[in-house]
Symmetry: C2
Subunit: 388 residues, 2 copies
Amino acid sequence: MKLVCTQSDLSTNLSLTSRAVPSRPTHPVLANVLLQADAETNQVSLTAFDLSLGIRTSFSAEVLHSGEIAIPAKLLNDITTRLPEGEITLENESTSTDDPLAGEGSIVTLIPKSGRYQVRAMGAQEFPELPVIENTPALHIPAGALIEGLRGSLFATSADETKQVLTGVHLTVQQDTLEFAATDGHRLAVVQTTNESPDTNTETGLEVTVPARALRELERMLAHAHSEEEPVALYFDQGQVIFEWQNQRLTSRTLEGQYPAYRLLIPRQFERELVLDRRQFLSALERIAVFADQKNNVVKVSMDSEEQEITISCEAQDVGNGRESMSAQILGEDIDIAFNIKYLMEGLKALPSVEIHVQLNGNLTPVIFTPVGGFKMTYLAMPVQLRN
Amino acid sequence: MKLVCTQSDLSTNLSLTSRAVPSRPTHPVLANVLLQADAETNQVSLTAFDLSLGIRTSFSAEVLHSGEIAIPAKLLNDITTRLPEGEITLENESTSTDDPLAGEGSIVTLIPKSGRYQVRAMGAQEFPELPVIENTPALHIPAGALIEGLRGSLFATSADETKQVLTGVHLTVQQDTLEFAATDGHRLAVVQTTNESPDTNTETGLEVTVPARALRELERMLAHAHSEEEPVALYFDQGQVIFEWQNQRLTSRTLEGQYPAYRLLIPRQFERELVLDRRQFLSALERIAVFADQKNNVVKVSMDSEEQEITISCEAQDVGNGRESMSAQILGEDIDIAFNIKYLMEGLKALPSVEIHVQLNGNLTPVIFTPVGGFKMTYLAMPVQLRN
């Protein structure tokens, strides 16, 4: 194998794929990145796979001899990022991929403008195949819509690995939408993105739960997409999901288990409604959080419909207290309601609008936050018992 | 006590003083910042003191009633940094400082533009006095020279608390210079800053060792000084040192024990001399470090006087190897010499010039690095045994 590429192409693609390299590999070959060079197409692809999350990216290079080899990912990445801009020659002795021992125990040599680096590599044949999904039509979603869906749901997943299916985002394919849902049992975030070019042959009602870890990598990779209009192809299958665009592909196993019937949690009628400024509410909460941190994170929100304002307060015994008021459009009777301030703040951060709509019934039933504007997001937070 | 100040003045000064608040205070009052407000001068001062390092800063405010009180530093800082810009009123009930119980168990109220915060505070009389040094003439050093001295020495102090005196920087007052020295036993950094306006009555030959922690805070505070010309007054005493400028003061205890006679370690004659580009050397070392990390951090530097170049290399068994060559002006016979790559890189980062001068004798005797140019800095690194 022999190829010449630029430092920036190699470095950018290595840092993207390296995210799928496990920090404690169960098998030595998984600590590697699989490099495949094709002299016919002059394309180089890099693949990393931890047996759950897989990332493959490819880029153009001058490929003099085809070949494939598994190179220690961290070492190659550490050297490449430190090299100056310019061309790099990458080669190993064996140039034939027919030889079953090609690359086995061999040395890969990197020759940048100055210097020479050699890294002990492994045979490509030991590297596991990335999963493929065949005979399933793709769903196409613009990169921007996918990013919005991830941004509005990922934060609400559970970080507790024992909660299984709650550590993922639940995706539901509808006729002309893709719905994202995430809950950790205390709050729920649901985003509906519009699929503007619906595939007539896409199976609707299809549901999968994808690990948050894979979707965080997807979010990071999409941030580098050429444009928000870039279509991303989604392939769903039992146990596996694939996202593919341009020269990049991310595969992930799906989470097993029944996802909660979250749509039933969202009330349909409300006794009270508020409209208020999201940023003003959030920055007041950030200050009150200094006291709430000392007191189980509980914050009290009091509605005053006569003054058309809400008061946010926290009394932390032996430490101090804080209160702030802000104007709000209020419909319904006055009420005091308590929240875990972290859930309130995280939801407000993810809502994409200037003003938000808050809908509630009593002070122990679900409270719904939605953006004022076209974006379809629903955030549900459960109030907590008001002590004092 | 009652005062009105701006959010930015309070926040900036709190974040400077808070650095001297111990994370695990030995006495509850040390978790506080002492706030003193003087209605006559309209000045507010903030003091924090962990019994070793003390920081006091002051700023102008509208002081309506004089008073002093000890306020929980973290809480006050956390609230203040989150407040929007604008005026803040700070008050507590007691306005008399003659009352011995003033502020004891009292409440401080912060009233920003919107909202109201109350914090439980402690009496000022419990807060320990900052050390003072009387009847000792000050030494005056421009802020810029002090920053240069700290930047060129602090990195070479030992992080090992059992090494006592080596965890500090040794300061020596000379007729018209202040000398900074730091060593951890493996390398040594010495900087001489010129005192351009020597005080004729300053005692010369005075030596103290100041804890690195205090000097790091000094460096941080000086970065906010109005100009590099700003004179900083230094007061030295047995056991205590004080740095004072504008409205800021930093006090620190000094470290006890005999500092090593480091000047004797620097050879006066050399068999070999090199001049080379500092950045080029450093960036080659950063790449070779990827392999040296796998091999006791040892890097080999080989001189080739015929080619007028040096080669930097590392062979990490079972992993790989790297080598780079760069041009250098070389005087003396060829030699191979090995270093701990971290000590080499840290020294090169601290040297302030484009080109550096390297002087050595054999491959197991001290190697001296100096900047080419006016700046007076000496960096000494001990080579390590060359294995292979």
